[in-house]
Each structure stands twice: as C-alpha cells, then as structure tokens.
Symmetry: none
Subunit: 212 residues, 2 copies
C-alpha cells in the first residue's frame, strides 16, 4: 500500500491477538499503526461511493458482475469519491455477506490451474494496476548514438586488427570487409561506448603491430 501511495487501511473484525501484536510491533509501518478497526463491512465502507470486492473464484458468484483487474482498475481510477477495495481472508476469501456490500467484483487474471493468490501479493498487484497511469512515466534519458564517423573509424580499426592477426583471408577480403562493416553497424553503439571500444582496439592494434 505504501509503495503505491495508498494510505487508508481498514480492518473488519480482525483476530485480536495477531492484530494487536502487529500494530504494536516496534517495526510496524505507520500505515499499519493508523489502521482503523470496524466491526462490520457496512461500517468500514460507509463513506465510500464505490465498493469493489476481490475474488479468485471466477464464475461462482453469478449475483455480481465480474471484471478483470485492468478494466476494473480503469473504472476505479475514474471514480470520484472514496473507493473501497475489499479483500477477504487468505483462507476463505469474502463471504456472501461481505460480497453483498460490493457493487461488483474484480479478479486478477491468473492461470486456471493456480487462481488463489497470496493476500499481500494480490493487494500489491491490484494497487499497482490502479496506480499505474497516475504516475507519469519518467523515462531515463536515451543515450546519444555514436556519429557514423566514429562507427567507421572503429570499423577500420577492427579490420586492421583482423588483418594483423591473420583473421582475414586476403582472397575474400572485400566480402569480409562488408560483413564486418554491417556487423559493427548492427551494434547501434552509443557515443560513449564507441570511444571505449576504440580505446581497446587502439591498444590491441599497438600490441599486434609490435608483434609483426
């Protein structure tokens, strides 16, 4: 919840021993410490304008419209007012009584053989999807591509190394040259990388030159 910027956690009728222990732990997150406790689902969602239940079951609850996470999340994002996202216990999910407080149900698309998810993971996936287009993606700056001048210079150095090392067969030199030239261009080198490559090749050439 914290990772995706959601701050209001409400628990309904929790198992008191475990809940008290978790809330009062030294390492308890502020979000957990400020969790609000309710006796009934009705109380917990009283100030919500939309209540969405989560289920892994699929087609059993015919009483409720069922949406997959992505289209469901898109409706949630566009809803004004508080939205309550209701999760059941890990073992039993939501009861029919719980479900009766929901406008509709939402399901994370999983493989059919393994539908039931870990509760914390299900919450994380739902909130990721709901938050996804809030955060405008700030892509890192693309690296500057190397100018062809440098690409060709690197090609020449590589060809020279091939000659000095005996890799290139003089009989098919032209075809090998073209092959190497195309190959270097396929690398899509950045300006920064091409200078590292040239530094390396320069040193190799110097050493190969010495050995002639």
């Amino acid at each position: 919840m914290q990772n995706f910027g959601y701050g209001v956690l409400r628990v309904v009728n929790p198992y008191q021993v475990a809940f008290r222990e978790a809330v009062s732990a030294v390492s308890a997150a502020p979000l957990l410490q400020s969790a609000q406790e309710f006796d009934t689902v009705a109380d917990a969602v009283a100030d919500c304008s939309l209540v969405v239940g989560t289920t892994s079951i699929g087609h059993r609850e015919l009483q409720h419209p069922l949406k997959l996470l992505a289209p469901g999340a898109s409706i949630i994002r566009r809803t004004s007012g508080n939205v309550g996202l209701l999760f059941g216990s890990e073992k039993f999910g939501l009861s029919n009584d719980d479900l009766s407080h929901c406008h509709w149900l939402m399901r994370i698309p999983t493989v059919d053989q393994s539908r039931s998810m870990n509760l914390g993971q299900a919450v994380a996936v739902c909130l990721y999807e709901i938050a996804r287009s809030q955060a405008t993606p700030t892509e890192p700056k693309r690296t500057r591509p190397a100018p062809m001048r440098d690409i060709e210079q690197m090609t020449q150095m590589l060809l020279e190394a091939s000659r000095r090392s005996g890799y290139m067969n003089p009989v098919v030199a032209t075809s090998t040259e073209n092959k190497v030239r195309r190959m270097v261009r396929r690398l899509n080198l950045s300006a920064r990388d091409v200078s590292v490559w040239m530094g390396m090749l320069r040193q190799i050439l110097w050493k190969l030159g010495n050995s002639k």
Copy 2:
C-alpha cells in the same frame, strides 16, 4: 510465479539452512521443489538470451539503461528465447557484479517516498505485468539472439585481449571487467554475429599470445 504461469525458478548461492528447509517442507510447492541451484549468476543465466535486473533505486546505476515495468515487460514479451528476470535479496538488492550480467534494469513505478518493495510482492507485480497481454500483435521475426553462454565467453575473450594488450589497468581491473561485461551486453548480439566476433577475437588472442 505459479499464479501467472511461470515455472522455472533458479536460485544463486542461497542461504543453505533456510533454502533446504523450505524445499523439503511437506507443504513446499512443486515449483520450489524443482528450483535449480547455481553458484554464480553467470551459470544461472547461461542459456538466457535476455537478462533483466530489477531495482528500486532509480538513478544510482547510471551504467545501465533503466526502464519502467510496463515498457520493459512489453520488450520481454516480444523476446524470443529464455528471459532471465534477476531479483536481489530483500535487504541488499543486486550487487554491481550481479548487475553486470544484465542487459538493462527494470523498476516498478512506486511513490518516491516508498520505493523498496517486499520481494514476493515485487515478483508478483512484475510477472502480472509480463503475463498481462500475451495476445500482442506478432512482431516480425527477429534474428535469433545469442545465448548468454556465448556472450559471456566473448566477454572473457575481450577481457583477455585487454589484459594481453595492456589496455586493462590491474588496479581497477574489477570495475573495468564489469564495465566491459555491461558493454558487451548492450550490443544485443545475434547468435550468428557472436560467433563471428569470437572467431575474430580467438585469432587476435592467438596473435597477442605469441607476442608475449
């Protein structure tokens, strides 16, 4: 992993006590029981054609291209061959050495105040996003990417050439090694090109060896 249909779990150098206990537990999932164990990241990703590291940090690792989860997942879906998704320990994340085996890094978009995620939740969110729309329009066939085994072999040959030619300063050898490793991965070599490169480097190494 099971929820989203992914079946191959590989662990690198796990804490043996906890790992043995988890795998041999009566309730252990088949996926965990069949987890493969490796000593090094290089071995674990040897048959992958793309290796993606995960990070919560954002802008510290300037050495690597960083993508947000959604655009990153879209690339992963379109990649042919095995894709390795690399997660670090919950406490420390991935080391610089781990990162040097990655082509690029991926980040789950979180709020700035709370970037570090629970490991299981981070895995769930990543796999949900990667699995979300399998039915993407089929891309034109790309050339077959080189397996990481070959990429690493080429890296080792290039490093050896750097040593023999005197390019590599022994004082900063580790940092140079990581730099070169990252650089080779940025080339996105095809299976065919990598064998040409290795042929060239083999010949250069032979000649450099002679000159010692």
